[in-house]
Amino acid sequence: MAEVLPPADADLVSATLGGDDDAFAELVRRHKRRVFGTASRFARDDHQLDDIAQEVFLRAFRHLGKFRGEAPFEHWLARITVSACYDFLRKERRIRAQVSLDAHDFDTRDTKLDAALAAGRARELVEYAMRRLTAEERLIITLSELEERSIREIAELTGWSEANVKVRAFRARQNLKKILEASHER
């Protein structure tokens, strides 16, 4: 007996556009893990993570008619995810500019690089240092260093040119190093 194949993403998109809500729910089920994976690099807590993920799928739903099917659905969704994360970072930075930066600092005992590595607190230290970067720098460091995406991929996801991505990535890394060194000297 022939096995019934699950519907392709493009078919689910068409069905959603035809008014089938279950088809969109299936798309969400299929791709939410990847969206959560990327968004978790930017969100500070579960509440923020939920907000970003919801924003991603809301934008996807609103613009589903623009999906042409030339590239896989997950690529299209990845671009929306990056855009939503970038908007979130910019918004968060605006809010933090009004509130004291230190008010948001969590435990900064292990801001020394060696100590953080030894204590298995690398992610916390990266987050601590990244919060001192601009939204652009943070986005590019996350995509290049934490998600290990290529320059080309980042250029496609952000809409920036490859040369621009290279320059921004270099500057972001230099700034991050300065921040870590400054915290090391404290």
Partner: protein
Amino acid sequence: MNDDAEQKLDALFTAARADERDTSRVEFGFETRLAARLREESGGSLFAWAWKLCPFFAALALAASWWGHVNLRAEAATQIVAEATQENAEQVLLAYMTGVSR
């Protein structure tokens, strides 16, 4: 920047990559929350549209009142001419026929 700092930074990123956050708690029931928000958005869209149309209706009201005001003035002028004409019908006819007004 020295190589040591570069290496340490790379080690930090490697360790941070390995320490992935557990998102299962937020993923639980996500579809339900999203569906509720989508319903909320689509339900509220009519109301949102009504608000968006407010400037249009305000402009329409302004245009209508301006039109009414202009028409009222024109009507008043017409009425004055009509009344004057009734009283001096002969002079008006003479002026019209000869082109001479006194």
